[in-house]
C-alpha cells in the first residue's frame, strides 16, 4: 500500500470517527430549574448505562404466591407486551423492556427520578371488573354458618396451639370495642342501627359477625373497623370460611376508608363472583377532574364491549355496580339508573391526579395476564452517575498524562509518534463504541482508562524490536521494517487471546460487565489499528520527507 493510500485510510477513519461522535439532538431527561424534564439536547451520541446516567433496572417474574401459573413462558410473553405498552406510554427516553431466559422480564428505565411510581406502573395488574353487589342479604343469612365455622376452628386451634389462642383474644378485644362504637353510632344512622339489629337476630355475636356491620344505604355493603381488617383477612384466608360464604358471591374490600364518628372503617362488599364485564374491552382511558367527584378516570369501550355492557346494565337497573380494580372496589358502587353504553368512569376517591393518570395509562395498555413480582431492582440517582463520570474522566486524564510522560521520556521522537497514535486510539475507541451503540458503564469507563495504559504495549513491542535491529547494525529504514515485522506475531497472538476472553465476558456477563467487555473489544481493535498501521505510516512519512537521509532514529 502506498503512503498516499495509507494517509487516506487514516484520514477516512478520522472523518468517520468524528462523524460518529458528532453531537446530535436527542431527547433526554435533563434538569431544568431544579426539576427533571424531558427535553431535546445536543449531545455526543455515546449511550450511557444506568449507572452513569441514573435510572432504574427491574427484573420481574411471575408471582406464584397466590396461584400457580401453568405456562409461565407464555404468560411472560403476554405480560411482556403489556409492560412494553405501559412503558411506552409512561414516556421514558430509550427504555429497555426485554425477556430474559424463559420466565423473566427485564425493564430498564434511564433517567427515572420517581422509582416507586415507575414500579407501580409496571407491576399493577390493572384487572378491571364490573360486579353487581348482592341485594339478597346473602351474607346475613350465612353469618350463623360462618360463626359456627370459626367457633369450630377456634376450639380446634385453641387445643393445638397457644399462638392461635392469642389471635382469639385479640378478636375478643375487638368485640368489646366494636360493641361500644355501635352504641355511640346509633345517633349517627338509624340504618346502621337496624343493620345491627338484623345481625343481632342471627343468633348472638359470633367471631365473624362481631367484625362486620351493615353499610350505609346499599345492599351488599358492610363496614369493618380499620383495626379489624387484618383479623378479617385472616378469617377470609381460611378455606373453611371461603366455603361457608354464600355461593356465587365474593367479598371485596374497598380501596378507601370511611370515617364514621371517631372511628375509621373499611367497606367490604359482597358482589356477584361473575363480573358483568371486564376491562378487556377498554379502548381508551383518560384522567379528569370533576368538581363534585374529585379525580377520576373516564374510559371508552369498543363496540363489542359497549353492546355487552348495555345489555348487562339494562338487566340490572336499580342495582349497584362495584367497579373492581385488582380486587379492590374503586369508590362507592354507583346505582345503575339506565343502561350504560360506551363510556364510563372510575372515581379515584382521595387520590391525586397523578394516580388517575397512571390508572388511565395502565387501563389503556391493558391488564397483566399474571401478577408479577420484582426479583431484582437497581436504582441509581442521577447525581451519582454525574459524579462517576466526573471521577472516571479525571482518572482518565491523569492516566493519559502519565502514559505520555513515560513514552516521551523513554522513546523521545518515536514516543511522540506513539502518543499521536494514542490520541487516535482514544478517538477510534470512542467512535467504535458510539457506532455500535454500545452502552458505556462505569466498569466500562474504568476498563477504557486501563486500556490507555495497555494500548501502548504494541508500540513498546515494536519500538523494542526496532532498537534490537538498530543494535544489529541495520539501517534506520530496514530496522523499522524488520521491527514491525518481527513484533507482529506477538501483537496478534496476545491481542487475539485477550479479545477471545472479552468475547466470553460479553457472552456470559450481564449489565455493567457486558459494557466492560464491549469497551475492551473496541479498545483491542483500535489499539491494533493504531500501533500497526497508523504509527507505521507516521514512520514512513518521516522517512519519506528527506529521502533516505535519515541515518539516526530517536527511539
Amino acid at each position: 500500500m502506498t503512503l498516499k493510500w495509507r494517509l487516506l485510510c487514516i484520514l477516512g477513519l478520522i472523518a468517520a470517527s468524528v462523524w460518529a461522535l458528532f453531537p446530535r439532538t436527542v431527547v433526554e431527561r435533563v434538569k431544568r430549574n431544579g426539576e427533571f424534564v424531558y427535553d431535546t439536547v445536543r449531545r455526543v451520541p455515546l449511550k450511557r448505562g444506568l449507572d452513569l446516567q441514573g435510572g432504574m433496572h427491574l427484573a420481574l417474574e411471575v408471582d406464584e404466591s397466590k396461584a400457580p401459573v401453568p405456562d409461565k413462558s407464555k404468560a411472560i410473553d403476554n405480560a411482556l407486551k403489556v409492560v412494553r405498552n405501559r412503558i411506552d406510554e409512561f414516556g421514558v427516553s430509550e427504555p429497555v423492556v426485554q425477556k430474559a431466559g424463559s420466565d423473566r422480564i427485564i425493564v430498564e428505565l434511564p433517567g427515572i427520578d420517581d422509582p416507586r411510581r415507575a414500579q407501580d406502573v409496571v407491576q399493577k395488574s390493572a384487572f378491571l371488573e364490573f360486579q353487581i353487589t348482592d341485594k339478597t342479604q346473602a351474607l346475613e343469612k350465612s353469618l350463623p354458618r360462618l360463626d359456627a365455622v370459626l367457633k369450630d376452628k377456634k376450639i380446634a386451634v385453641a387445643t393445638t396451639a397457644g399462638a392461635a389462642a392469642k389471635t382469639d383474644t385479640a378478636a375478643g378485644a375487638g368485640l368489646q370495642s366494636l360493641f361500644s362504637t355501635d352504641t355511640s353510632k346509633k345517633a349517627d344512622s338509624s340504618k346502621t342501627d337496624s343493620a345491627k339489629a338484623a345481625l343481632g337476630t342471627t343468633g348472638g355475636p359470633g367471631a365473624f359477625s362481631k367484625l362486620v356491620q351493615q353499610g350505609q344505604g346499599m345492599p351488599g355493603e358492610y363496614y369493618v373497623a380499620q383495626t379489624d381488617v387484618p383479623t378479617m383477612n385472616q378469617y377470609l384466608a381460611l378455606p373453611e370460611v371461603s366455603a361457608a360464604l354464600p355461593p356465587g358471591k365474593v367479598l371485596r374490600w374497598s380501596s378507601d376508608t370511611v370515617s364514621l364518628g371517631n372511628r375509621v372503617y373499611r367497606a367490604l362488599y359482597l358482589v356477584d363472583a361473575k363480573p358483568i364485564i371486564t376491562g378487556e374491552y377498554i379502548t381508551d382511558a383518560k384522567p379528569n377532574t370533576s368538581p363534585t367527584e374529585g379525580n377520576l378516570v373516564q374510559f371508552t369501550m369498543n363496540n363489542e364491549g359497549a353492546r355487552r355492557f348495555r345489555t348487562e346494565t339494562s338487566r340490572h337497573i336499580g342495582d349497584f355496580m362495584a367497579i373492581v380494580l385488582d380486587q379492590r372496589v374503586m369508590g362507592r358502587p354507583p346505582v345503575i339508573q339506565s343502561s350504560i353504553g360506551t363510556n364510563g368512569q372510575i372515581t379515584m376517591g382521595g387520590k391525586d391526579l397523578q394516580a388517575a393518570q397512571d390508572l388511565a395509562l395502565v387501563l389503556r395498555a391493558g391488564s397483566l395476564p399474571v401478577p408479577l413480582k420484582v426479583v431484582d431492582v437497581v436504582q441509581i440517582g442521577a447525581s451519582l452517575g454525574q459524579d462517576s463520570i466526573h471521577k472516571a474522566t479525571t482518572a482518565g486524564v491523569i492516566a493519559i498524562a502519565l502514559v505520555i510522560i513515560i513514552m516521551l521520556g523513554y522513546y523521545r521522537f518515536s514516543g511522540a509518534l506513539a502518543v499521536a497514535g494514542l490520541a487516535l486510539y482514544i478517538l477510534y475507541t470512542l467512535a467504535a463504541l458510539a457506532g455500535f451503540s454500545a452502552v458505556l458503564t462505569l466498569p466500562g469507563l474504568a476498563g477504557f482508562v486501563l486500556s490507555i495504559g495497555i494500548a501502548v504495549d504494541a508500540n513498546v513491542l515494536i519500538f523494542e524490536r526496532i532498537r534490537e535491529e538498530l543494535n544489529h547494525g541495520k539501517t534506520v529504514r530496514t530496522a523499522i521494517d524488520e521491527g514491525f515485522r518481527h513484533a507482529m506475531s506477538a501483537i496478534v497472538d496476545s491481542n487475539v487471546s485477550t479479545a477471545l476472553t472479552a468475547a466470553v465476558l460479553y457472552q456470559y456477563g450481564t449489565g455493567p460487565v457486558r459494557g466492560f467487555a464491549v469497551t475492551l473489544l473496541a479498545g483491542i481493535a483500535a489499539s491494533m489499528i493504531t500501533s500497526i498501521f497508523v504509527v507505521r505510516t507516521f514512520y514512513m512519512l518521516w522517512l519519506n520527507r528527506s529521502r533516505d537521509a535519515q541515518t539516526t532514529l530517536s527511539i
Binding site: 431492582v377 437497581v378 466498569p443 513498546v460 507482529m488 456470559y508
Partner: protein, 329 residues
C-alpha cells in the same frame, strides 16, 4: 537513547523453587483464610439489599445501626463510603434475603422509612438502591465461573493452534495460578467479590496471558533460530530479551491503574486494587510459572520431530508449519 535493563543476562529460572515456595505460601495463606471464613460476596451474588445514602449532616453510625436493628433489619452492615456523610447499608443475611421474596424493594422501603422517622424528612438522600433476589445471585455466580472456565478453554485451543499444546498448557496453568493468587489477595485485603471485581479478575487473566504470550513468542522465535542451547537457556534468554518491553508496558499499565485507584472513586477502587495486584502476579507467573511448567512438560513429553531445543536440528519446513503467522507475511 534511554535504556533500562538492556542486554541483561539474568538467570531468572534458577530461582524458580524459591519463587514457587513464596507463591504457594501466599496461595495457601489465602485459601486457608478462606477456609476459616468465607469471602465477602457482594449482594449481586448473595442476594440482599444495598442502599447508598447521603446525609445532609454527618450522622452517628451507632444511631443508624440501632434504628435498623429496632426495625428488624438485623445484621445490616453500615459502612462509610467516601466522605463522612456518605454511607452504604448492606443487608444480605439469609433472613433479609428471604424477606425479599415478596418483592425486591421490601427491605429498602423499610430502611428508608425507619431512617426518615429517625433523622427526619430530607435529612438524607437515597443515592443508590440495589435489591437482588437469591436466584439472580446464584445465576450470576454460575455465570462468572462459566466465563472463567470457558475463557481458559478457548485460550487453550487458540494457543494450541498458534503455538502448540505444550505452550498452551503452560500458559493456561500460569493463568490459573493468577486466579488463585488474586483470590488470595482479595481475601487478604478483605475486598468484596462483586461483578466489577470479577470483571477485574478476568482483565487480570487477559493481561497475564498477554505477558506470557509475549515471552513465549520470543521462545518460539529463538527455538526456530536453532541455537545450540537447552530450553532452560532459551527461556532465560527470551525473558531477558523481552525485559525492557515488560518494564515499559508494566509501567504504563501501572500508571493507568494508579490513576484509577486514586481518582476514580469508591465504586471502582476494588477493581483498581485487583488490577494493581494483577500486574504483579501476571508478570510473576509469566516468568516463574509458565517457564518452569514448560520446562517440566518438555522433560515429561519431549518433542518427537527433532525440533527439540538441545538437538537444534529443526528443519525449515517444520518451522514454517509451526508458525503460519510469520510464514504468510
Amino acid at each position: 537513547m534511554l535504556r533500562i535493563l538492556h542486554d541483561t543476562n539474568y538467570d531468572f529460572i534458577r530461582w524458580w523453587k524459591v519463587m514457587a515456595a513464596i507463591t504457594l505460601a501466599f496461595i495457601l495463606l489465602g485459601l486457608g483464610s478462606l477456609a476459616v471464613k468465607p469471602p465477602n460476596y457482594s449482594i449481586e451474588f448473595t442476594g440482599g439489599t444495598l442502599m447508598q445514602l447521603q446525609f445532609v449532616k454527618p450522622p452517628d453510625v451507632g444511631d443508624i445501626r440501632a434504628t435498623l436493628d429496632q426495625a428488624g433489619v438485623q445484621g445490616a452492615e453500615i459502612q462509610q463510603f467516601g466522605t463522612n456523610r456518605d454511607f452504604t447499608v448492606r443487608a444480605q443475611n439469609p433472613a433479609t434475603v428471604a424477606a425479599q421474596a415478596g418483592g425486591a424493594t421490601t427491605i429498602s422501603d423499610r430502611i428508608g422509612q425507619v431512617l426518615t422517622q429517625k433523622f427526619g424528612e430530607n435529612s438524607f438522600r437515597v443515592v443508590r438502591t440495589e435489591g437482588v433476589g437469591p436466584r439472580v445471585g446464584s445465576e450470576l455466580r454460575r455465570g462468572a465461573i462459566t466465563a472463567i472456565l470457558l475463557s481458559f478453554l478457548i485460550t487453550l485451543i487458540y494457543l494450541s493452534i498458534r503455538f502448540e499444546w505444550r505452550f498452551a498448557t503452560a500458559a493456561v496453568i500460569a493463568t490459573s495460578h493468577d486466579v488463585f493468587t488474586t483470590i488470595a489477595f482479595l481475601k487478604l485485603m478483605h475486598l468484596e467479590i462483586s461483578l466489577t471485581v470479577v470483571a477485574g479478575l478476568l482483565t487480570v487473566l487477559g493481561y497475564s496471558l498477554n505477558d506470557t504470550i509475549i515471552i513465549f513468542d520470543r521462545v518460539r522465535e529463538n527455538l526456530r533460530k536453532g541455537r545450540k542451547e537447552t530450553l532452560y537457556e532459551t527461556l532465560n534468554r527470551s525473558i531477558n530479551e523481552t525485559l525492557p518491553r515488560s518494564i515499559l508496558t508494566h509501567a504504563t499499565a501501572f500508571a493507568a491503574t494508579l490513576a484509577l485507584l486514586i481518582f476514580a472513586g469508591e465504586v471502582i477502587r476494588p477493581f483498581a486494587w485487583v488490577m494493581a495486584f494483577g500486574i504483579v502476579t501476571g508478570t510473576f507467573s509469566s516468568i516463574y510459572v509458565a517457564a518452569p511448567v514448560l520446562l517440566w512438560i518438555e522433560r515429561k513429553w519431549p518433542r518427537k520431530t527433532g525440533a527439540r531445543q538441545s538437538s537444534s536440528t529443526a528443519t525449515p519446513t517444520s518451522r514454517t508449519r509451526r508458525s503460519p503467522a510469520t510464514a504468510t507475511r
